[in-house]
């Protein structure tokens, strides 16, 4: 900073909360203004008031569909953690395993996930499983990568300290390596959770009977644009809630991490 006097807008905590709100309201206002000024038909671009009233017409239905998508997302995400973290740990432990599995992981990750969606339906039907697996597939890679990186970042002197205390390998893992990797694991989780929402919507586009992705697809077929907008809004709210849930969890679990890194 070259100027010595910093504005209230950059320093005050109140402004830190207020500015995003102002930005959001401004964007919505612009959106509304655009529909009015250019006289856009509401089946092309509904105004914010149309979207709100669509939601208020059937709140129970839309919230139920949101819940369905949310559960699929969270289930797939948790499954990706349960599978991804141990695999990352094994990869870091063994060079042989790393060489054996890593290219395979890269290949799987390189496949556009939407290409697999119809196959998942063939294999697993129309229930929630193909959605959960799709979420798992998109989340898995960032979680594995960040965990592996975190596990490799343990400082040498801390490893030596535990050796000098005659710690067992298991103690070294749980008391040091895993704990030290936590901030990086969380970085991976935050990337993964946003992808998870995308994954569940993709899966719901193909062969679903419920969920917000299904709602969007149906509304597209019947040109009910404001319903699609309502569903998209709910999706993004869900995504933001999940993301900030993780951020909150990180603050609670790792109060040391913000200061040390």
């Amino acid at each position: 900073m070259t100027d010595t006097k910093r504005s209230w807008l950059t320093t005050s905590p109140v402004a830190a909360v207020l500015l995003p709100v102002v930005g959001l309201i401004g964007a919505i206002a612009l959106w509304w203004l655009a529909t009015v000024v250019f006289g856009i038909d509401s089946y092309l671009l509904p105004g914010p008031q149309d979207v709100v009233s669509t939601f208020l017409d059937q709140p129970a239905y839309l919230l139920k569909e949101t819940g369905t998508s949310m559960i699929e997302t969270v289930e797939g995400f948790l499954l990706a953690i349960v599978l991804g973290v141990p695999i990352a740990v094994l990869i870091v432990r063994s060079v042989i395993l790393e060489r054996l599995v890593y290219p395979l992981l890269l290949m799987v990750n390189a496949i556009p996930k939407i290409a697999i969606a119809p196959l998942l339906v063939v294999w697993m039907g129309f229930g929630q499983w193909p959605k959960v697996v799709m979420v798992l597939l998109v989340c898995f890679f960032p979680i594995v990568i960040s965990t592996a990186q975190g596990m490799k970042s343990t400082p040498v002197e801390l490893v030596e300290l535990l050796r000098s205390l005659n710690a067992s390998r298991i103690q070294e893992f749980f008391k040091l390596r895993l704990r030290y990797a936590m901030p990086q694991i969380f970085t991976g989780l935050k990337v993964a959770i946003s992808l998870a929402v995308i994954g569940s919507v993709i899966a719901e586009f193909v062969g679903a009977t419920q969920g917000l992705g299904y709602v969007i697809q149906q509304s597209g077929a019947s040109a009910d644009t404001s319903l699609a907008f309502a569903a998209i809004t709910l999706l993004s709210i869900m995504s933001i809630v999940l993301f900030y849930g993780l951020v909150l969890l990180e603050h609670l679990l790792l109060p040391w991490a913000q200061e040390t890194r």
Binding site: L158, E160, L162, S164, L165, Q171, A257, E259
Partner: protein
């Protein structure tokens, strides 16, 4: 207390083998304070790690308390150049780490001891703080308490004060001498500061680099307590420092066949 007989250490480097230590004979008496001094790359840290059981010698034998060292011993503590504190653990919990790793034997008694040690180094009231909330000097004090928690017979210290500012360094070397006088622990202390070596030691071992050999062992008979800062024995310290400086600055080190016991 510590005995090294014909110890050598050879590492496999990128360009063939590197001899880090050659023909080291050293005998440290119980309760003695020995400093190891030498240029960087003379193998002082390697020597310390051999005594700690963190590294097996390529040849020769290392004995502590008349037993060959095969792995880290519980009555030998190691203190590093950096504080090596676990960032998510409070001060108290860091000090308790060695006890925790060993198992739960007499946890309560050790807890009292931990409080006592923290008070001894002036950290009373900081037990619940996280490492990042402390200054470098305070962190190294915590590290000192941790290395004292199991009442070690031998303390191995690898340039523990070298990352601190001059004033803190003076304070800590004073505290270390005070603790040493109370506990009669055997200490082997690596440093590259001539003055520090002289002020702390009963004997100074001068190592020459490539390969690391014992160049000379100098007895220090200056009465204690001594201080790095204001000093009642400035002339003696200066005299011996000068001698050591000469030894360290020699280009061609003459091989030493015999080391004074």
């Amino acid at each position: 207390m510590i005995r090294l007989d014909g110890v050598g250490q050879v590492f496999d480097g990128r360009e063939g083998q590197v001899t880090a230590l050659e023909e080291i004979d050293l005998h440290v008496r119980p309760g003695e304070f020995v400093t190891l001094i030498g240029r960087s790359g003379c193998g002082k840290s390697t020597l310390l790690r051999l005594i700690a059981g963190l590294l097996p010698p390529t040849y020769g034998e290392v004995r502590v308390a008349d037993e060959p060292v095969t792995r880290p011993r519980r009555d030998v503590s190691f203190m590093f150049q950096r504080p090596a504190l676990l960032p998510w653990r409070s001060v108290l919990s860091n000090v308790m780490l060695p006890v925790e790793i060993e198992g739960d034997k007499g946890r309560a008694a050790y807890r009292d001891r931990a409080h006592e040690l923290l008070e001894l180094v002036g950290l009373k009231g900081f037990e619940g703080r996280l490492p990042h909330e402390l200054s470098g000097g305070m962190q190294q004090r915590v590290s000192l308490c941790r290395s004292l928690i199991r009442d070690p017979q031998v303390m191995l210290m690898d340039e523990p004060f070298s990352a601190l500012d001059a004033l803190t360094r003076t304070e800590l070397s004073g505290e270390l001498q005070r603790i040493k006088m109370e506990l009669s622990t055997t200490i082997v202390f690596v440093t590259h500061s001539i003055e520090e070596a002289v002020v702390l030691a009963d004997r100074v071992v001068v190592l020459t680099p490539r390969p690391g050999r014992v160049r000379e062992v100098v007895d220090i008979d200056i009465p204690r307590p001594r201080s790095l800062g204001r000093n009642a024995h400035l002339t003696e310290v200066a005299e011996i420092s000068g001698l050591l400086h000469g030894l360290l600055a020699e280009k061609e080190a003459r091989p030493v066949d015999e080391v004074r016991p």
